[in-house]
Amino acid sequence: MKTNSVIEKVLEQGGFVVTSECGPPRGADPEVVRRKGELLRGVVDGVNVTDNQTSVVRMSSLSACAILKGMGLEPILQMVCRDRNRIALQSDLLGAAALGINNVLCLSGDHQKFGDHPQGKNVYDIDSVQLIQTVARLRDEGKFLGGDEVKGRPMLFVGAAANPFADPFEIRAARLGKKVKAGCEFIQTQCIYNVERFTRWMEMVCERGLHERCGILAGVTPFKTAGMANYMKKNVPGMDVPDDMIARMKGVAKEKQAEEGIKICVETIERLREIPGVRGIHIMAIEWEEKVAEIVKAAGLLPRPEIQ
C-alpha cells in the first residue's frame, strides 16, 4: 500500500470500485458541496471534485475536497494543467496531501475557449502525463521537478483520465501506456455509450498488460433527455453515442426519458462489468448527483465495501 486511498484499497482487495463526481459551486457557499457530498455518502468509494470544469470558474477543487474530507468522504482532487504552472501545481499537491486528501486525478483540462473566460491565457507549463510524473516524483522520489528535496512527501494515489473514443484511436492504448509509465495508478474513462468500441479498447489495454498495472474505472453518464443524448453526440468532442441509443431515448415520451436514461446507464454498467480488465465504474451524473445512489443500487453495486 502506497497511500491511504480508499480507491487503492478497494483495488488492492480486488473489489469493484465505484466513484462519482461533485462539481463545486460557482460561488463561495460550502453548503452546496456538503449537500452534494451527502447524496453520495455510502454509495461510492471516492468523489471526484472537478477543477474549473469546462473552463468555467468555480470554487477551487482543493477547497471543495477539503470540505468533503471534513464530512468523512473520500475526495479525488482533479487537477488540470491549464491554469497553473509547475510551481503552483506542486504547491497545491503538497497542500492537498496536508489536508488529508489521498487521491489526485491529473488532467490536461478543457481549452478555455469554451469557458467563461475565453480571453484568458492558458498555462500548460506541463501536460497531464508530466503532472502524473510530477506527483509520482514528489511521492516516490521525494523530489521536486526542480530537483530539490521534498520535506514530507505527499502520499497521493495518482489517477488520470482516458478517452477510449478520442482520435487517433490506434494510439489510445499507447497513450494510456504512457500515463501508466509516468506513474498513473488508476484511470477514469470518458463516458461510455459504445460498449463495443470500448471493449476493443480494453482488449488493446489488456494486450499491453496495462490493466494489471493500473485500475481502470469505466465512465458512465446517464442521459436526462433525448436532447442531451443528441447534444453529446454532436457537440462533445471525443464522445461516441450510437444512433440506436439516441433512437431509444427518442422512442419514449418526454417525461419518461430520464427514467429511460437511467435504465440505459444501468444496463451499460452491467455490460461494462463483464469486460475483462474493468476494475470499477465512474459515474458522472452531471448536476444529477441525486440519481447516483439509484444507479449504483440498480446496478447491484451496493453496499460498498467498508474500508478502514
Binding site: G109, Y124, A166, I171, A174
Partner: protein, 222 residues
Amino acid sequence: MIVGNRKDFSEILEKLGAARRVLLLGCNECVTVCGVGGEREVGVLASELRLYWTKEGETFEVREHTLERQCDYEYIDQIRGFADDYDVILSMACGAGVQYVAEAYKTKLVLPAVNTTFLGVTIEQGMWSERCQGCGACILDMTGGICPIARCAKSLLNGPCGGSSEGKCEIDKETDCAWQLIVDRLKESGQMERYEEILPVKDWRTGRDGGPRRRVREDLKL
C-alpha cells in the same frame, strides 16, 4: 515568415486621433508576402484614409512609402529626410518593425496598423497558418516534424488530449489536432516507437519565459 493581420480601419482612425499628416510605412518582407503590409496594402490603407478624410472634409496628407525591411536600421534611415514632415508614422510592418522604427525616430509618434499574429507558412494563396512559437529549444525531431507547442491548443508535449476528434482539435473543426498529425507522421515514417517516449517537462527558459532574448554571434560582429 511573420504573419500579421490588418487592424480594423476604425481602430486605425482612433489611434491616429487628430493626426492628419501621416507617413504610411510598408515593409517589403514578410508582411508583403502575407498580404498585409506591402506596397499594395500601403496603397489600400492610404486610399481608405484619403477617401474617409475627403468625405469628412478634412485636410490631410498621406504619404506612402515602403521600406525593404523595417527591422534593419539602414533601411529605416531612408525616411530620415521626410519623416519629420508628418505627425505620425503608421507602420504596416510586424511588431518588430514598428518598434524599430519608433526607436529610430524617438520624437515621432509611431503607430501600428497591423496586428502581428504568428510565425507561419502559406497554406495556399491567401491562407497562412502558424508553425512556430520561437520557444528556443526545438524538439521537432521528437514529434515527427510537427511542433506541438505551436500547433496544439494546449501545447501538450505528450498529447493528444481527449478532445481530439476526427483529426481536429476541440477548439474548432478548422484546426487540425497537432497530435493527430504527429501520430500520422510518426506512423508514416515508421517511428511509432517514438510516441511511447514521454517527453520530459520543458525548460522554458529559452523561450519568452526566460525574458526578452538576444542573440550574438561574435564572429559576425564588426
